[in-house]
Structures are given as structure tokens and as C-alpha cells.
Symmetry: C2
């Protein structure tokens, strides 16, 4: 039973990519078959796993093939699936062409369901599929929300990060009504939390009120190793396994797995 | 002689809004007539100056009126210009409708020049016009680059922030070639610099190589007061005038004014 988790928040720089890469790596270390899909044209998640040049086949290529669902073949899609330094982790990397998909799809049929078609074919091979999204509520993000079973919302412990949540909830509700009735909220994840700052504590309180029960117990601390790891093309677990940031993402993976068992 | 500065970088969370609000406020304190335009649908710059609800007339309304240049009147546009707590600072606030402008303009004539038409009419009344942009290279950002005389690029001292610069340069070159020959690069501004971190120093070195002479001498330190001020609806200069973040933005304003005198 594969779980597809979208990591979304249109506010920039809140930790979407850092969460996608390190949560996916944590699932892989726990020997869950995991696929990370990089739907952000910036390609930071791909860079974070050591893929720096454009690949011949990437997610844009797969989304292009998904235009005709009746001829879409698994062997074709798997050309866009690349291996990483972790055995149980694969990635469908981003590409620069992804940025133009929005314009390409303006008049296309079922333009919101391209990614869903891909995931429905690949899903049986994985326990978890994690999707990183861009900082906007555009067609790429709508594709991500339409294809996902749940959405994980990273919230940086800062004032501006709180402001955008209402807009994000609106978009999620619209997708639930029109495109994906089964989409649930996996939860809000507090990121870059600094125990010494009042601002962090105040924002954390507001998020707990705003999301009620749906806030992860695991809180990701501000931790320099999490922002150093990408420059080595590695998830934190392969860069510095001891540090608090790495441990927090492992705990998050365990909390999600436990949540599934509890149903 | 009015200078129009676009604050752009598609990477999220690098300090575009914090720079727009505090640079505009610093110019105002130096008694330069300043207009801040919030072209980000998130509306963070508007919130940072205390405008939290949607206004009847905002930048979206002005961009809508700009569809017919021959009937566009200054009195109409000025309805979207609001005052702030600083005498010399005005703002054209963002609105939620801004997010749909992209779709509205897909087939419109001269869709890249709507903001330019507005600024050409308002320009004579201001010494500086600062434009905050969203974290993407979409039609809103193209409008901003087409309307501007120069572009200021905030670069957070982190690895992922470096990766997107090549893409940003490509877009700037395309705009210079096709839409705005006079667009220059005002400079790269290092933000959230932490003197204690090697990562900050490494990124700063790379940015200096990448931009050669065009890096501001002023560096913005990571400073908690800069991220607390927006929750009070004030620029940092009205929240805590003594702190290093506020002083850095004042120095930046003086550096830009000095640069103009040196020509
Ligand atoms: N817990 C953390 N501690 C320290 N630094 C962090 C942490 N999480 C993320 N970062 C750093 O903060 C920056 C922003 O994080 P990241 O790029 O993951 O956010 P994002 O939401 O994916 O951004 P975008 O909106 O551009 O996609 C990055 O440079 C990252 O390395
Ligand atoms: N020098 C600084 N020191 C500490 N915090 C800062 C600094 N500059 C910005 N911040 C905080 O970092 C976060 C990101 O900054 P900001 O929102 O200005 O970036 P942005 O590039 O406008 O983001 P977006 O891509 O979403 O538009 C904000 O919460 C802001 O308060
Ligand atoms: Mg990202
Ligand atoms: Mg901003």
C-alpha cells in the first residue's frame, strides 16, 4: 500500500525541499521503498541528492508522455527514475523545461491529472512517494495535490510564513472538491525552530491553534548541518548522522509510519 | 529623476520582501519620495507595512486599468496608492486577484508591459520606486523586469540560493534583449549573513566571483528584529532603530544614493 505525500507551501524558503529530501532519505534508511519526485523547476531536491546536470529523461519528459494515457508505458516512465546513494531511494529529477509546462498545458485536456497518471502506474513499486513542489499555487502544484493521498505542510517559525496558510487551505479545499476527494492533510511540520527565540514559540502556538490536532509532534530545529548537506549532494543522514536535524527527520519518518499503523 | 528598482530572485525565502520594505523605508527616512509596489500575490510587503486586508483598489486593479493605455489616467491609478506610517513612503498594495493575472493575460496584447505603463505615469512624482516580486520567473516577474531601470538581487548565504542565479541571469538577459534594453543590474545583496558560519563566508566568496564588481559592500546580517518587525506591521526602522539589521538597510540606501552621484 503506497502512500503519496505532497510537500507544499507557496511561501518561499520554509523548508519544502529540505523536508522532501530528508524525509525520503529517512524512509529509505528504514528500508521503505521510496520515490522522490522533484516538481520544482529550480531542481533543488535533485541537487540535494547529487543530480546537478539536466538528465535526458526527467519529470518533464514523463509529464509530456502522460499526455496520452492509453499509450503510457511503465518502461517509458522508468527511464526518468534515477538511483541515489541510498538503495531504497529513487528520484524523478526536475528539469529546466518544467518551468514552461504551465504554458504548454494551458489548453490541454485533463491538464491537472498528468502527474496522477504517472503515479498510478509507478505506485505499486513503492511504499512511499514524496513530491517536492515549487513556491507557488500554480498548475504544477495543482498536479501535485491532485496526485497525492495527503499533504505535508512545512511551516517556518516566522511571521510571514503564517500569513499564507489561509490561501493554501483554500487551494487544498478546491482540489478536494474538484479533483481529488481523498486528499487529506498529513499535518503541519514546524521547521527552523529556534528554542531561544520568542518568535519561534509564538508562531508554534499559532500553528497549533490553526491546525488543531494535525501538527506533527516532531519539530525540526534550525541546524546548520541541514543547510550544509546539499552542497555535498547528500541528504543529512549521509553527511552527519549524529546531528539534531538528521535525528528530527528520522523521528518524523517514524511518526508517519506509526500514524499509519494506528490508522 | 526617478529610479525604478526591481527586487527579484525566484529562489524562495531569500529576503526579497524584507529588502523591499526596509530599503523603501530607509529612502523615506532620508526624505526621498518613495513608492513601494507589491507585485507578489502573497502580499507580504503590504503586511509588513500594516496593510492586512484587501483594499478596494490595489495593484491588480491598476494592472487591469492599464489594459487600455490611451484612457489610463493618473487620478485613476492614484486610488491604488496608499499612505504608510512614514511621510515619504507610499505603497501600491498587492491583492489576492494578482494570482490570476497570469491566466487573464495569457492572450492579452503587450501583456509584459502593463506595469511599465503604470510606472511611466507615476514616475515623475517619486525619487525611488521599489518593486517586490514573487518567488518565480512568471509573467508578474517579467512585468517587473520590463518596468524597472535596474534589478537588485538578494542572495541568501546558503547553497540552494546560489544554484538559481544562472536561471535568473538568463531571464534578465532575455528581458534586456526583447523588452527592456536599458535594464541594468543594480547589484547582488548578501542577506542573512552569519559571521560565525563557514557556509555564509563560502557563499559570500562565490557570489563575489559570480557578480564580480556588482556586489553591494553593505551586507545584511541575520538579525531577529528584522523578522519580528513585520508582525507589528512596521518596517524595522519604526520597530527598533538601533539594531544591526535596520542600520544595514540604512547603509544600503546610502550606498545606492552615493552610487547614483558617482554615476
Ligand atoms: N531546519 C533547518 N535548519 C537550518 N537551515 C535550514 C533548515 N531547513 C532548511 N534550511 C535552509 O533554509 C533554506 C530554505 O530551505 P528550502 O530550500 O528547503 O526551502 P523551500 O521551501 O524548499 O524553498 P523554495 O520555496 O525556494 O522551494 C535552504 O538554504 C535550506 O538549506
Ligand atoms: N536578515 C534577516 N535576518 C533574519 N531574518 C530575516 C532576514 N531577512 C529576512 N528574514 C526572515 O526570513 C524569512 C524570509 O524572508 P522574506 O520573506 O523577506 O523572503 P522572500 O524572498 O521575500 O520570500 P518569498 O520568496 O516567499 O517572497 C522571513 O520570515 C523574514 O522575516
Ligand atoms: Mg524548494
Ligand atoms: Mg517575499
Amino acid at each position: 500500500m503506497s502512500k503519496v505525500i505532497a510537500v507544499c507551501n507557496q511561501k518561499g524558503g520554509v523548508g519544502k525541499t529540505t523536508t522532501s529530501v530528508n524525509l525520503a532519505a529517512s524512509f529509505a534508511v528504514l528500508e521503505k521503498k521510496t520515490l522522490l519526485i522533484d516538481m520544482d523547476p529550480q531542481g533543488n531536491a535533485s541537487q540535494g541528492l547529487g543530480i546537478n546536470e539536466g538528465q535526458d529523461e526527467d519529470i518533464h519528459e514523463a509529464l509530456y508522455l502522460a499526455a496520452s494515457p492509453d499509450t503510457l508505458k511503465k518502461e517509458e516512465l522508468e527511464k526518468s527514475v534515477k538511483s541515489t546513494k541510498l538503495d531504497f531511494l529513487k528520484i524523478m529529477p526536475s528539469g529546466p523545461d518544467l518551468a514552461v509546462l504551465e504554458i504548454e498545458l494551458v489548453n490541454a485536456m485533463s491538464r491537472e491529472r498528468r502527474l496522477e497518471r504517472i503515479i498510478n502506474i509507478l505506485k505499486p513499486d513503492y511504499d512511499y512517494i514524496i513530491i517536492d513542489s515549487p513556491p507557488s499555487l500554480n498548475l504544477l502544484t495543482i498536479n501535485v495535490l491532485t496526485a497525492a493521498s495527503s499533504v505535508l505542510i512545512p511551516v517556518q517559525c516566522e511571521y510571514y510564513a503564517l500569513q499564507g496558510l489561509a490561501e493554501l487551505f483554500n487551494t487544498i479545499r478546491l482540489v478536494q472538491k474538484n479533483l481529488n476527494n481523498d486528499l487529506t492533510i498529513e499535518g503541519a511540520l514546524l521547521t527552523m525552530f529556534d528554542i531561544r527565540l520568542n518568535l519561534s514559540k509564538q508562531v508554534a502556538e499559532e500553528v497549533k491553534t490553526c491546525f488543531s490536532k494535525k501538527v506533527f509532534q516532531t519539530v525540526i530545529p534550525r541546524n546548520i548541518k541541514l543547510s550544509e548537506a546539499p552542497s555535498h549532494g547528500k541528504p543529512a543522514i549521509l553527511y552527519d548522522v549524529q546531528n539534531k536535524g538528521t535525528q528530527a527527520y528520522m523521528k518524523l519518518a517514524e511518526e508517519i509510519i506509526q500514524g499509519e499503523l494506528d490508522g
